[in-house]
Structures are given as structure tokens and as C-alpha cells.
């Protein structure tokens, strides 16, 4: 890790909605090639953090610095956001992963077709090419979205609860892809709830409960004391909250 350069740097970042912080004063960096889990209770600001990195949410305070262009980030949001009733085939959904290469109207070359087939085969969706996405099960949809991520070929990959409501077999298959990305020294950041999975697969963890609780080696971060601290987070807004004066260094 000593040689690795930073891909994402947080300088006293506060992210939130209105003036309410959802991620409060996060400071630190994600080295290139790291495989990192983001863990914390519901409402802890995990998804908000990913939105901040992708740039769909501007920080209320502080800075998020990316090495390389924002298009170098592949982002898989929580499942709900896709219109599944749209008449689109699995093949076309997956092929969208080539967007950064083909853009608005670039053609899809024969080599790209091979890559689409490879991606479909890597997620076990061969034979699903012509199926409308409305006929896919939750797990199959997630496989298709992972195939799209494969095609995006991005150096940084952000996954927001990728295995929620996904069966064990599919989870194992997709987790293999995550390990493969790590072996290819891509940076992977995943929001997860399954602590056993985090311990088994993710060397680094950020435990967050609006305030960052701990960040580092997974074994040390997920200590009983830290987890207890995270669980004590107050979810309700304080109507009398004062303006935060902690300095944004």
C-alpha cells in the first residue's frame, strides 16, 4: 500500500441535505487498488457518501478530490432506481456499459460485441440476451448490472448495497467478480451490511454513523467497541441543532 497513490481524497467533507449533515467531517483517503467496505447503520450516510464521490451531491463543506476524471468511476446505485417496465433487452442494458467508449452515437464494433458476450458469460447470463429486462428476477437483474459494470472497465468501482435481497449463489458469483476487480488492481468501494462477508473479503473498512467512527484495517475497525459506538447514533434530527463551527481545515 505504501507505493499506491490516492484515487479519492476527502478533506473535512460534510455531505447532507438542506443544512443537515448526513456525513459529518470525513477526512482521509482511499488509496488506488484498495478493496474497501463502507459499513454502518441505516441512515448513517453510506449512500450519501457514494453520491458525493460520484458528484451527484455537492459537499456542504470541505472537498472531495478525485484523481482522474469522474467518468473513471463506475457506480452501481441501490437497485430501485431502474425502470424495469421499459421495453429494453438484457443485451442492450449491458451494452450501455460501453458508453464511455462509444458515447452518444459511436458504433459498437465486433470486438465490443465479443466483450459484451464475455461480460454476459462472466455473470452467467448467456441465453438471456433477447429477454426484456421486465422478465428478470432481482438476482438476474443484479447480474446484468454487474455485466454492465464489467464493460465500463473503470479504474474505480462504487457499489451501493449490491447484495441486498440477493440469494447466496448469486452473491457468491458476484463477489468473485469483486475479487477479480481487486486482483486487476481496480479500486472497489462497497456499501455492505453483512459483517461476516466484510471480514472475509474486504481488507479495509470505513465504519460510519454520520460521523466517521473508524477507518482502517477491517479487523481493527469492526471491534465490538466501535460497533457499539456506531449503534448509538441518534437518527432523529435535533430541531435545535446549532451551526457547526468545527473548522474545515
Amino acid at each position: 500500500m505504501a507505493l499506491a497513490s490516492t484515487v479519492i481524497r476527502f478533506d473535512e467533507v460534510t455531505l447532507g441535505y438542506g443544512r443537515r449533515p448526513a456525513v459529518h467531517h470525513l477526512d482521509g483517503e482511499i488509496p488506488a487498488g484498495s478493496l474497501m467496505a463502507v459499513v454502518g447503520p441505516n441512515g448513517a450516510g453510506k449512500s450519501t457518501l457514494l453520491k458525493g464521490i460520484v458528484g451527484t451531491l455537492k459537499p456542504l463543506d470541505g472537498h472531495i478530490r478525485l484523481k482522474g476524471p469522474a467518468s473513471g468511476i463506475a457506480y452501481l446505485p441501490q437497485a430501485a432506481e431502474i425502470d424495469r417496465s421499459f421495453p429494453l433487452s438484457v443485451y442492450d442494458l449491458v451494452a450501455m456499459g460501453l458508453w464511455t467508449r462509444s458515447g452518444l452515437f459511436g458504433g459498437i464494433a465486433r470486438r465490443d460485441r465479443t466483450r459484451i458476450e464475455e461480460a454476459l458469460s462472466a455473470v452467467g447470463l448467456i441465453g438471456f440476451e433477447r429477454r426484456p429486462i421486465s422478465t428478470l428476477s432481482g438476482g438476474q437483474m443484479q447480474r446484468a448490472l454487474f455485466a454492465r459494470l464489467l464493460l465500463q472497465d473503470a479504474p474505480v468501482i462504487l457499489l451501493d448495497e449490491p447484495f441486498t435481497a440477493i440469494d447466496a449463489k448469486t452473491t457468491a458469483d458476484l463477489l468473485d467478480l469483486v475479487r477479480r476487480w481487486h486482483d486487476e488492481s481496480r479500486t472497489v468501494v462497497a456499501v455492505l451490511h453483512d459483517l461476516d462477508m466484510v471480514r472475509r473479503t474486504f481488507p479495509h473498512t470505513l465504519l460510519i454513523a454520520r460521523e466517521p467512527v473508524a477507518w482502517g484495517e477491517t479487523g481493527e475497525v469492526l471491534s465490538p467497541e466501535n460497533l457499539l459506538k456506531a449503534r448509538r447514533m441518534v437518527e432523529a434530527h435535533d430541531p435545535h441543532a446549532d451551526v457547526c463551527h468545527r473548522s474545515a481545515a
Partner: protein, 303 residues
Amino acid sequence: MRMCATAAPHKAVRPMLDLFYAPFAEFEFMQRALVGVIAIALGGGPVGVFLMLRRMSLTGDAMAHAILPGAAVGYLLAGLSLPAMTIGGLFAGVIVAVAAGLVSRFTALKEDASLAAFYLLSLALGVTIVSLRGSNVDLLHVLFGTVLALDDSTLLLLASISTATVLALAVLYRPLVLECVDPVFLRSVSRAGTPTHLIFLGLVVMNLVGGFHALGTLLAVGMMMLPAAASRFWSSDITMMMLVSIAVGIVSGFSGLLLSFHAELPAGPAIILSAGAIYVVSLVLGREGGLLWLAWPGRHLEA
């Protein structure tokens, strides 16, 4: 033998020719109407399909009405003049599209409610403005169009609009589809989303203004939404849906004109009625979720 072979079909073909071909061969206004309707179908069908898939059918309807006051102001200033009413219509359509979008984005009112408000307002305003100057004939002209009296410049306008629409849709196809299916993904890979949406709204207004000259403000949206809605029952592939919607538009234009010619019905409503009939048939028989297939799906398969 040879005589029989040629004579027999001739007898059967002749009335068919009279029925389907003669009106267009004999009357130039019918030819012009057919050309105009085909042009409207070429642009309106695909735009309608996207409107439907983006759940903006009501937006289309509201914008069709929004064109009225603009066209009416044009009419007030210059009479039944093509450029004045076109420019007025485009202007009003864009204003309402943007205003409804802003109201729904920045207030608690949902887009459908704000659209309903705008469209009622524009309809009342438009009718009032037209009657300030014109007769009831002119009002009917504005509300229901004059598909049987399309002059050269109107035909040219309709043809230009459908050409521009088809070209623009070809260029914008990917971001348009992507913005419907997965807007978050589009935002993460490209900034094309908002401009695409605005250009698409522009296309909707353009096609409505074109349709307005032929079918009037109340029926123009019919050549967009009815073919699109019918196409959904025949395909679950968007490319195919656009082709089907164009075909439905052309067929309903053709049969509507014939219906109006033979039964002496007003042409605009006859065209929209034909499109409506095709929609109802599709609703019942359509292979993708038609009522008949829902009622008798056949026994389940093995796998």
C-alpha cells in the same frame, strides 16, 4: 381461357380501386391531405412512443393545448397565416413546457397537476383570443384543423418537421432511452441528460405545431399518442414499437381520409377515430398483453 383470367379479377378489383384509390387519384386535396398525414405520422409516432415510455402522455396532451393561445395571438395579429401561427404556437408550447417543469421541480405541486392547470388556462385563453377577432368558422379551424386544405407551404413545414424529428431522434436515441431506463447511470457517465430532455421537449412542441395545422389543437396529440399506445400491444422492443407506431399513423391517416370522403365526415376526427379503432383492436388482440391473450393465455409451458 386468357380472357377469363383477366376479366374475372378485373370485375372484383374495380370497386376496390374506386373505394381506395380513386379519391386520391381524382382529387388533389386528398393527395395533399395524405402526404401531410404521412409526414405527421413519421415524426409523431416515434415521439409519441418516447412520450409514452417516459410517462409523459399527459404532458403531450397539455402541451397540445398550450399551443393554442400562441397560435391564437399569431392569428390575431396576422389572420390565418402559417408563419405567424407557427411561431406563436412554438413560443407558447415552449413556455408552458418549461413553466410546468419549473413549477413541479420547485413547488410541492406534482407535474401532472401543474400541467392540468396550465392546459386549462391555455385552452380558455386561446379560445378567448380567437373569438376576439374571428368567426366561429375560424375557431373551428383552429380547434380541429384543416387537413383537407393543406397548401404547399404547410406541406413543406410538415415535411421539414418530420425530417428534423427523425434525424434528431436518431442522434439522441441512446441518451433518450437511457434517461428513461436508468437516469442515475446516464448522469454518472454523461452530461447529455438535461440537454437531451430539453431537445426532446422541443421536438414534441414542433410536432404538435405541425399536427396543429392539419388536425387542430385538440386532435394533434391524437396522431402521437394513439399510434404509440397501440404499438405497445404489438412489441416489447422499442425500435419495433416506433416502426409499428409509424405504420399505425399512416394506416389511420389513409383510412380516416377515405372514411371522411365516402361517409362525408369531417376529416380530422375521422383520422383520429381510425387511429382510435386501431388502438382498440390492438388492446384486444395485441400479442403483448392484449386482453384476448390475457383472458386465454393457453396452458402453461413446461419450462
